[in-house]
Amino acid sequence: MGDQNVLTVNGLYKNIKSVCKFVAEGARNAGFNEDDTFRIELACDEACTNIIEHAYGGENKGSIRAEWSATPSYFVILLHDNGRSFNPSKIPNPPEKPQNIDDLKIGGLGLHFIKKIMDDVAFTFGESGNTLTMKKKR
């Protein structure tokens, strides 16, 4: 393993920016340019938003532990929470080419962004909580 860093915040929307900033710093250290760092921040934002909205069912109901590390091949982000687990395969992908706004499905957008931006996305659920692992090739 290479460098590793950990940050724990209370599950509030206003704290998401701190998590993104913390992860962005790691991404820059790992050699990503500003465009890629921006994309990684978006994935991180969406993942934290999902934790607050879906795992905890609202703000201020638990913490989010963020951890990043850099291996020779990947930049790795782990996000851990103690909320409800969910089945990611049950979240429908929004249509790739929506025809009009009336038909637009606006659920599942966050997970869609995460999958588009990151190279590897995995969820684990256990007694000690839920962990989302997101990897981006360096």
Binding site: Y13, D45, E46, T49, K97, P98, I101, G110, F113
Partner: protein, 112 residues
Amino acid sequence: MTISSQTSTHNISHISVTGRLDQSQVKALEAAIQHAIEQEGNNIIVDLSDTNYINSGGLRCLVTGWRNAKQQHHNLVLCGLNSRLQEIFEMVGFDQVFTIYSNPDSAIDKLA
């Protein structure tokens, strides 16, 4: 991060979003769109020229605003997306369904 709105001489409501369009601004934008829907004109421009970030919460807010506007026979368009916002819209195909102008002047020219 601010939301400001004004009504032009052509009865076009012009809403500008500055900074990040995420959960922190969604309620203010919803209120600004609702206020615009209640105005006399039937065109609403949401100007993202000074918006440097948008996430799924911001996108959902725009979709809801568009639908509410349409229900009241209003037309909601967007303008001024920078390349990063454009990429985010493209990732989910929103660039294909919203009417998007390159800047506020071209939006006003089309709608006036």
